[in-house]
Amino acid sequence: MKSVIKLFLSGLLLLSIFISCDREVYTGFTEPVILSNCKIFVESNPDSASIYVDGKNSGFITSDTIKGLSEGIHYITLKKNLFKDTTITIELSSSDKKSLFIDFYNNPSNFGTIYVNSNPVGATIYLNDKNTGYLTPHNLTSLFVGKYKVKCNLPLHRSDSTIVTVTYGKIQSINFNLDDTSKWVNYNISNSELSSNHLSSLAADMNNVWIGTRDKGIMKLHGNQFDIIQSVNSRLKYNFINSLFIHNNDLYIATSGSLQRFDGSTWMDLTSILPDPYVTSIIFDKNDVMWIGTQKGLVRYDGVNTVVFDRASGMSSDFVMDIAVDNLNNIWVATNSDGINMYDGHKWKIYDMSNMNLGANLGNSIKDIACDKEGYIYAAHIYSIEKGELGGFTRFKDGTWEQLELNGVPANLVECIYIDDQGNKWVGTKGGMTKFRYEPNDGYFFNTSNSKLPANQVVDIIISPDGNLWIATFGGGLAKVKKGNF
């Protein structure tokens, strides 16, 4: 019996062990909250440096306070363009507010060098327009990082300058090719104040060269000074210049919508006497009568009366391209598509492919016409593949037209003909220009590869009264060849 009770008691014990107590269960885990309460004020010289914290752009720039930093060690890097990155290790705690100042200039490696060389050497070096006293080649050392204007000056050469960015610890090399201006000077929009590289015509008086452009009005060049005459700053009506002509020191301006006269100070608008405002050419004959070519006829203006010649009065066309006056004061008119008209004061004679007796169909569209003292008439026929017209350069004397070839340049792409006082013929083409005295094929030619001609399309040529040769190009600006060098 006793053993049974023992068994029973041990059973009870077992039982109570089973149901003894509640186990501990998972009650959750609270992630410790780490606060990023530290701040740092960062300043730099120069300011506006990007502040990187631990390799990451903080989005703040100096001078500013960076918030939201955790306690402990941080790497603060200041990055500023051109300067060397500066990294400072700093230990932060939320209790104190630290500040940091970085002077980039205290670091010798934040300086840079510019090596300046020129061809030819020996040019004076200007830094930010201040003469350094050094001649090329030279190392300009210990420069703060940043942008500098470096200029080189060498007599009889065009000065050249450029902007150089100096970064820390690096040598920036520049080499100027100085343009020799002793014989030939080119003007374009990047090296001068020339307003356009697309020129249309030239005219010169005793002091000035007048340059017409296709889009930017007129430039007056006196000495090295360019004056810009445009519709926005003068009474010039249109900036599209077709032709310029000097007569009695007055400048006559033919534009796409007007005929104006400018005597240097006052403007006169002559458009109202014309049948059409699109003016292509102006010339004065030996009797000082002004002839004006328009889209709708040729106008004779003697200062008082106006006579309009057109198809109705015997011309082959209304559209005048160019006018020339020969020794006999005959008026030669180049028309847009109907050949050449000659007016002897009484009647019109028409020359075109039907009666010029040329071996080929050069075409009836005449670009330019000119007369020399020897009595020759020169005409430029326009090449047109659509019309099957070959284009070409022709000469007329004593009732006969002949086709000429030009030395080195394409005779069928003639843009302009200029005959100087010595009787030299200057022919500008789309492929350069040529000069000859008597026979066109014995002249010599200029193009971009054998000379400093800035573009091959030569649209006008003049020799100014001071003896310099001026060449207007389409696309390359203006070229001046000093007297005696051509």
Partner: protein, 323 residues
């Protein structure tokens, strides 16, 4: 007898007491938690982040809370790589009139932050007390539609469905897409542009066609049955007798490619319970360190399909673009 009466009274009063509804507080210890939500769109440079905090509701109904819990004065920054960073500015946005909150809500935004696919994206929000919420993700690269295997014309030259196929450089892509028919409708002398969204199919219920819009997919292809497009074309002018008022332009398929974080988050939030099951626990996915919410990115891509003019005309509509 008396004792029986007392006993009865006792039992009755006991029962009355027992039947009382015991007050029950379902709340544990409230701790303020913070929520950061930011979904970076790779197809725009305007990015938005929202920061709010948790709350309790006096009457136990979270919907009765009408106080906006947006948090102010937070330094929110977005990184794309280590160098490209934007500090988000804050502004308030008016809510629609049917919103339960009556105050405008606060958003943090960046106006010039268009992430470059491939570079890591990071966000960090530092709360006024120094608490930090942060996360990282990556931008899905734009998808390439495969012109050779995708249809370009509706209806297609062969088959009775149109198919669009693309490839995606992502490893676990999820795409969400919709197809819209763009058209003009002449209304009172002027024409207004509309978009009709084409469902994956229609289910007829009580004489009406209930649209069933495409669900997210993982495959890089999708097809629309021509029958559905026919039906959609028909429904554009439902109730209008003058079909020539409609000028049909084209069909544009928009494909949104989600990044992995967003895919997972989408899966957990859209995982709807059925109407009858009562579930007391659910997974709340968050990739925000230090709080709740989501930081993800997506890219939106477009593919244009043109209509054959005969097809447009067969509905009485006017073709709007060249074939």
């Amino acid at each position: 007898m008396k004792t029986k009466f007392y006993l009865l009274t006792l039992i009755l009063s006991l029962l009355t007491i027992l039947s009382c509804e015991e007050t029950f507080d379902p709340y544990g210890k409230f701790e303020e938690k913070y929520v950061l939500n930011c979904i970076v769109r790779a197809d725009t440079n305007y990015q938005v982040a929202l920061v709010s905090k948790s709350y309790i509701s006096e009457n136990l109904d979270p919907y009765s809370n009408t106080e906006d819990k947006s948090v102010q004065n937070i330094l929110v920054r977005l990184w794309n790589g280590n160098d490209n960073v934007a500090i988000l500015k804050d502004t308030i946005v008016e809510r629609s009139s049917d919103d339960k909150y009556n105050s405008p809500y606060r958003i943090y935004y960046a106006e010039n932050f268009q992430p470059i696919p491939g570079l890591p994206l990071e966000i960090e929000a530092v709360l006024p007390d120094g608490r930090v919420l942060s996360s990282a993700t990556s931008v899905p690269a734009p998808i390439n539609f495969l012109d050779t295997s995708s249809d370009t014309l509706i209806p297609p030259s062969k088959g009775d469905y149109i198919q669009v196929v693309w490839n995606s450089p992502q490893t676990k892509p999820v795409f969400i897409l919709r197809l819209g028919i763009y058209y003009f409708k002449y209304e009172g002398g002027s024409k207004k542009r509309y978009i009709y969204f084409v469902p994956q199919n229609y289910v007829e219920h009580e004489g009406k066609f209930v649209p069933n819009y495409p669900k997210p997919i993982t495959q890089s292809r999708f097809s629309f049955d021509m029958k559905t497009i026919d039906k959609a074309m028909e429904l554009i002018s439902a109730g209008e007798s003058d079909k020539s008022k409609f000028e049909i332009l084209s069909c544009i398929i928009e494909v949104i490619a989600l990044d992995e974080n967003l895919s997972i988050y989408y899966n957990t939030t859209a995982n709807a319970n059925n109407a009858f099951s009562v579930k007391l626990d659910e997974k709340d996915y968050s990739n925000i360190k230090g709080g709740y919410g989501i930081f993800g990115a997506y890219n939106r891509n477009y593919y244009v399909l043109r209509f054959k003019h005969d097809y447009i005309r067969s509905f009485g509509y006017i073709p709007g673009l060249t074939e």
